[in-house]
């Protein structure tokens, strides 16, 4: 089992390498550069005229969707899809925490026996769903999509994260949610504030270039300002949030969960243990009280109230803070790639479950929602795109000036290792890391214990 998985991973690693090389070649040819210079790749072939079938008139599609802004954006556009195709779409909107447990029984129900016609798939269900035989290989559907779904139009990194696995294309990326460092740009450019900080701590107030530098900065701010201004607003609730946040510390410090060939855990090597210690220190010495049990509402509240200098978080947090009229921090923020260079890059993709009662009508929905025009309008409404074109669209860039930085985070970011049970990986790491944060184990003990369990997943 381990060897098979290792070979599979080797192929996947090779695929990643090819994709990255393709990214550099195509982006060089197109001459596109965004943000700090990271290129997203070219936009691909010219758009053909897309037609949609009315063969499924009267069909109703059911989708389980996370209750967030992206879903609302698509939901508001659904009447035009119904007008085009005669297909009605129902979104069952739920919190993220219950999605996996609602989906799994439906997916395992067997061909045609499920409830959901199209899947919204998070980046760490990719391998579990594909290798369990629960989703269709979309290769042929994409080839026959009449130009509605063209993979060359997507940021290659998103294809790596949430689309392709084991040499096949299982999902179509539709929404990116990379993580990075969000910080108070007004304070960073406030000369008086900087001078006071320098006088109090002996440090320069600047965005650091390493995880260690970031933790030192955040600790220094908290030590200096106390309750008035924490260095970091953190989201360390067990299990999912703490792992998502920790990934940024781990990857940017140069660590990972497994070795490159996926043959052994590396979460307990020197680099990873150091990253875990830095993370524990950051939660306990730089973050707001209660950070260890904080969810995103908690950390966003602290940051919005102007009580934190920075937050390692998802890019959508920036939209939430900047869109909040009552937030003290509204409009005072910027975002950059995680100090150290590699953050967590998450994304959602569309999939067609084998258990779908209406797979063809479901695919018609994917064709429509991923067609260039609809994808552009979604981006204009505030969705973080997975396609390249919106990042080059002047109207969209004018409305969302932080989009280039988001592009940098996506292209430089990394998802989770390609083990089948990524959900279990998150549970294992989250449990041991939370214990280390609470002082029940040292970072080293926690990572050693996690490594022993992670080895079982290979």
């Amino acid at each position: 089992m381990a060897n098979t998985t290792g070979n599979t991973m080797l192929r996947h690693a090779l695929q990643r390498h090819i994709n990255r090389r393709r990214l550099l070649q195509t982006s060089g040819a197109a001459g596109l550069a965004l943000g700090s210079g990271v290129r997203l790749a070219s936009g691909g072939a010219a758009q053909e005229e897309i037609t949609f079938s009315r063969d499924f008139d009267g069909t109703t599609l059911n989708l389980l969707m996370e209750d967030l802004q992206e879903t609302t954006i698509i939901e508001e556009m659904l009447p035009e899809f119904t007008e085009l195709t005669g297909i009605t779409v129902n979104f069952e909107k739920v919190g993220y925490g219950v999605m996996h447990e609602k989906l799994v029984p439906q997916l395992a129900a067997g061909p045609g026996n499920g409830t959901y016609d199209v899947l919204e798939v998070d980046f760490y269900w990719v391998y579990e769903f594909a290798r369990s035989g629960w989703v269709e290989d979309l290769g042929q559907r994409i080839a026959d999509s009449g130009g509605a779904v063209v993979l060359d139009r997507y940021i290659p990194a998103t294809l790596d994260i949430v689309s392709q696995a084991d040499g096949k294309t299982w999902y179509v990326p539709f929404y990116a949610y990379p993580m990075g460092l969000i910080y108070r740009d007004d304070l960073l450019n406030d000369e008086a504030f900087k001078a006071e900080f320098n006088e109090a701590t002996g440090m320069e107030l600047a965005i650091p270039d390493s995880v260690e530098g970031y933790v030192d900065l955040a600790k220094a701010i908290t030590e200096w300002k106390g309750e008035e201004l924490y260095g970091a607003a953190m989201t360390s609730q067990q299990v999912d949030p703490i792992v998502m946040e920790f990934c940024n510390f781990l990857y940017s410090a140069g660590g990972d969960y497994y070795d490159a060939d996926l043959t052994a855990p590396t979460i307990n090597d020197e680099t990873a243990v150091k990253a875990a210690q830095l993370y524990v220190d950051c939660v306990n010495q730089a973050a707001q009280p209660g950070a260890a049990s904080a969810n995103y509402d908690d950390s966003i509240a602290v940051y919005s109230q102007g009580r934190a200098f920075s937050s390692v978080s998802f890019m959508w947090m920036l939209s939430v803070v900047d869109g909040d009229e009552e937030a003290v921090a509204q409009g005072k923020n910027k975002a950059v790639v995680m100090p150290g260079g590699t953050g967590l890059s998450g994304a959602w993709g569309w999939g067609i479950p084998v258990s779908s009662p209406n797979p063809d009508a479901g695919w018609e929905f994917v064709r429509w929602v991923e067609s260039s025009d609809v994808a552009r309008r979604r981006a204009l409404a505030g969705s973080l795109p997975t396609q390249i074109a919106p990042y080059e669209d002047e109207e969209i860039l004018a409305k969302y000036p932080w989009l280039p930085q988001a592009g940098d985070m996506i292209t430089q970011g990394k998802g989770l290792p390609a083990v089948t049970k990524q959900t279990q990986l998150v549970e294992i790491v989250g449990r041991h890391l939370a214990e280390a944060v609470a002082g029940g184990a040292t970072a080293q003990e926690g990572m050693h214990a996690a490594a022993a369990e992670l080895a079982e997943l290979l």
């Binding site: 395992a108 067990q238 209660g290 908690d298 214990e435 609470a438 029940g440």
Partner: protein
């Protein structure tokens, strides 16, 4: 009437149980397709040998015994107060005391998550007023379990009050009045007459709550997700976690049956206690 009743019982109770028992004796990982090979008691053996399950069992025992003991003492005291002859506003007190019972466990969890919030919560704010330091209630290794016990006591004591107060109200007055005539003071009457008469009711209340407490899942899910680490992970939470993260249905079914055996044993004791109470 008998045949439809038996059929309904078979469909509603027996079939799911039999299926779960079947699953528990087979290799059934959802990611590997359908139900696999027969493995006998292997899933049970692996579950019992699992350190995490043993930890969850310990946590379940600590939680169940603590909440039931605290709830019993508090509910008994409040019930005795409410049962005093001539107490004014009894119904108002009772209505207030019963409010937690009407709130769903999920809502209780969310309310207390806010109250116990380390930064913005009312509990730490109140501690600050009297000069005590705030606590990381839900993320502290030493505070998470006591916090959950406290929340459960707040929520479930009402149920105990309902049962015990009903029992107190139904007690015959003659023995208590006879004790008073014989010169017993209130404490003596309570210890020697009221509590012995009330014992079957108390036993029923304890068992009902113990069975429910052993299945605690929702408060854990909302408040701590079993953390920090596995400090508050109970058997029910562990079963859910294994079913939906490892997707190992065989082991999850085996763990469910182990919990069921304990609960069935308690239920047998409960039924006997109720019969004894009825006979008395």
């Amino acid at each position: 009437m008998t045949v439809p009743t038996i059929l309904a019982l078979l469909i509603v109770v027996a079939f799911p149980l039999a299926f779960a028992l079947y699953v528990s004796s087979h290799d059934y990982d959802l990611t590997e397709g359908g139900i696999g090979a027969f493995v006998g008691v292997e899933n049970y053996a692996r579950t019992i040998a699992d350190e995490l399950f043993a930890n969850a069992a310990r946590n379940t025992a600590i939680l169940s015994v603590s909440v039931v003991a605290l709830e019993l003492v508090i509910a008994l005291a409040l019930s005795l107060l409410l049962n005093q002859p001539g107490l004014r506003f009894r119904n108002i007190y009772l209505a207030i005391l019963l409010i937690p019972l009407l709130v769903s466990p999920i809502a209780v969890g969310l309310i207390w998550r806010l109250l116990l919030h380390a930064d913005l919560g009312a509990v730490n704010w109140a501690l600050g007023l009297i000069g005590l330091p705030g606590q990381e209630w839900l993320s502290g290794q030493a505070t998470a379990m006591p916090a959950i016990i406290g929340v459960d006591v707040w929520h479930e004591t009402s149920l105990m009050i309902v049962i015990i107060l009903a029992g107190l109200t139904a007690l015959p007055r003659d023995p208590i009045e006879a004790a008073a005539v014989d010169g017993a003071n209130r404490w003596q009457a309570l210890w020697t007459v009221t509590l012995p008469l009330l014992m079957p009711v108390l036993l029923v209340a304890v068992l009902i709550r113990m069975i429910a407490a052993m299945k605690t899942y929702d408060l854990i899910y909302i408040l701590t997700r079993g953390g920090p680490g596995s400090a508050t992970e109970t058997i029910s939470y562990s079963i859910w976690k294994n079913a939906f993260t490892t997707l190992d249905m065989g082991r999850s079914a085996a763990a469910s049956f182990l919990l069921l055996v304990v609960i069935l044993a308690l239920t047998v004791v409960l039924v006997r206690a109720m019969r004894t109470g009825a006979d008395a």
